[in-house]
Symmetry: C2
Subunit: 376 residues, 2 copies
């Protein structure tokens, strides 16, 4: 197994850590948030702006890209980087989450999962091997194993069944990657186990034993209470090896990010920052605010003073409010740029705090202010 | 009356002319197409990209901006330039076209027109004086007189009535501007007269006699056949003074633009370029193409080879097709940038042809190719 992660600094009083991951398209400094580009575009923003903000690793969705435009199209271009003109790293998920959460019939067997496209209802079949092959065609720098995702309210019996399948698929994915001589990506296996402690433990130990350069934690932030998220994240993280990069899937709010960093998580992704932005909600140090509100009608100030994004350096809250009231797409474009800039800077501040050995204080102070205005 | 237009070159065999208009926010080289920024944003594109393409004059809509965000908001910022962070020139229309074409009740009297907001049905009243005042608050570099716009199928009697009111409003607008000591903009009066030759003539002569630095031609490209448009445009243009800039409202397709240039028109605007773009249709020298078509699924080529826009230098037709099929807003963003770049370059080519004295040939060759593929 190649080692791709190097830890450069350990926080004094928490498990938070600085480091970097070396990937085919360059180095990624961690902890790092990853913007989501489901269809080969981070919604509402030019790739060169994503790059200029500082991002070096974004997501693509295997399920979506497989269905549309298809691997025949992307393969002809030599991969997703070339097709979408993004010259830094791409992580692709395995499609498991989409297959099990989007509408449409699905049927799971040991061999794999058959499912219907959410676009046109057409029938498809994913095996763990096929999902690796698709990500190979996409040219992913980090690829994920196919997993059987379950909602938070299932029985223990169902959770065991799903976990066993996830484990078998994980092993088969690892084996299959070894059979592809020119596989340049890095396969991460995914910890599942729903919200059962023993299953989480079994999964964490199994995934840790697999010969993969990195580990992902799935099945969290799926509707459970924040305390449950915190509890299960910390519990799971405790069982993972130090020398591999750890990725928590599907978290993207400042409070969840800081919680994950505290537990030693290195990378995370979420559509939240960009989706919220398109609906006019933006991050600030005083918590998220809705730009559509009447209170900004005459406000000449920026979203967040000191922020370096175009929205903050060139436009007022009043202008942004007007954009959202008039349903102008430029509102979503500017808010997207702000939210991605905000999260990038938050990670910079986080890395600095770890370096200074004061992450716990930083987190406490940050969240105190972040939650304070929410009570309004 | 200040003279703001200087003719720099006359085409050898047509009425096409090169020149420039000096405005409060700088010089505009003509003939020039103006992108439309209805609500204080050219839809789907950053103002700095509009500027980088080369545009120095864009439109804002008085009717829309008056209703939302309102002159109290924009006035507090010192005008539309500051509010929308556009440091070049802005032309605002008078709202006449919107009042008479958007849904809602309206009632015309000599004093002005009462109408309902298309947003919330609220009642408002525009007099010619008030419309000048609104544009004064917006800080328009070119302002327009309130006009009574009529559809192409009305009776002669109705057309006369409307014209008389337009003329009275035109005179009152000119008088009112003179009473505003710090009015920095340039008021243009509008030729109307529907599709009746004698009324067009009367209107052209009346507007020419008014003390305004420029003249607009309204009431064309409102659904009439291309031959009728050509006929009435040429007929009207023949009666306008040479020393004033001439503006045809609401045209934006390459064929209509070249037709207007041939008659000596200097500036024009239309939402077509940006609206089409958001629906996936882009200009090429071989005519407009729809990017959603299956034929581009594997096409590695750009929309138009040689085009300098981001869409053409960084992305393939296949990628753009994928953006539109996946309903990604980035498709509209890229197509908007292309269409505005295309029209800017078309105007550059036009100005060059005029300078070389070969505009007629340029137009003929261009349209031959432009229309050829349309027959597909």
């Amino acid at each position: 197994m190649r080692e791709i992660f190097v830890k450069t600094c350990q926080d004094a009083s928490t498990k938070a850590r600085n480091g970097y991951i070396d990937l085919p398209h360059g180095r990624v400094i961690t902890p790092a948030f990853m913007p989501v580009g489901t269809n080969g575009t981070v919604k509402g923003i030019y790739h060169d702006k994503v790059e200029a903000i500082g991002y070096r690793l974004i997501l693509g969705n295997t399920y979506h890209l497989y269905l549309r435009p298809g691997t025949d199209v992307i393969g002809q271009f030599g991969g997703l980087h070339e097709f979408s003109n993004w010259n830094h790293n791409i992580l692709t998920d395995s499609g498991g989450f989409q297959i099990f959460s989007l509408p449409g019939l699905r049927k799971v067997k040991k061999e794999g999962v058959s499912f219907q496209s959410h676009i046109d209802g057409s029938r498809h079949f994913f095996s763990p091997e096929k999902v690796v092959d698709i990500q190979h065609i996409l040219g992913s720098d980090i690829a994920m194993t196919l997993d059987y995702c379950t909602p938070p309210d299932i029985t223990y019996k169902k959770a065991i069944e799903a976990l066993k399948i996830t484990e078998e698929w994980g092993q088969r994915s690892v084996d299959h990657v070894k059979s592809i001589s020119d596989f340049r990506g890095n396969l991460f296996a995914i910890v599942q186990g729903n919200f059962f402690r023993d299953l989480r433990k079994e999964s964490a130990e199994f995934v840790s034993s697999l010969d993969t350069p990195g580990i992902a934690i799935g099945g969290l932030s799926v509707g459970e209470k924040p305390e449950v998220f915190k509890d299960f994240l910390a519990y799971t993280m405790d069982m993972l090896p130090e020398n591999k990069p750890r990725y928590v899937m599907g978290i993207g709010s400042p409070d969840y990010l800081l919680e994950a960093v505290q537990d030693g998580v290195d990378i995370f992704d979420c559509v939240m920052a960009t989706r919220m932005a398109r609906h006019g909600t933006v991050f600030t140090d005083d918590g998220p605010i809705s730009l559509s509100k009447a209170q900004w009608a005459f406000d000449k100030g920026p979203i967040e003073s000191g922020c370096t994004c175009d929205a903050c350096t060139r436009y007022s809250r009043a202008y942004l409010r007007h954009m959202f009231k008039a349903e102008e797409m430029f509102g979503g474009m500017l808010a997207t740029e702000h939210n991605l800039t905000y999260l990038y800077h938050l990670m910079e501040r986080t890395r600095e705090a770890i370096q200074k050995g004061c992450f716990a204080d930083f987190k406490k102070d940050y969240l105190e202010r972040y939650y304070f205005k929410k009570q309004d």
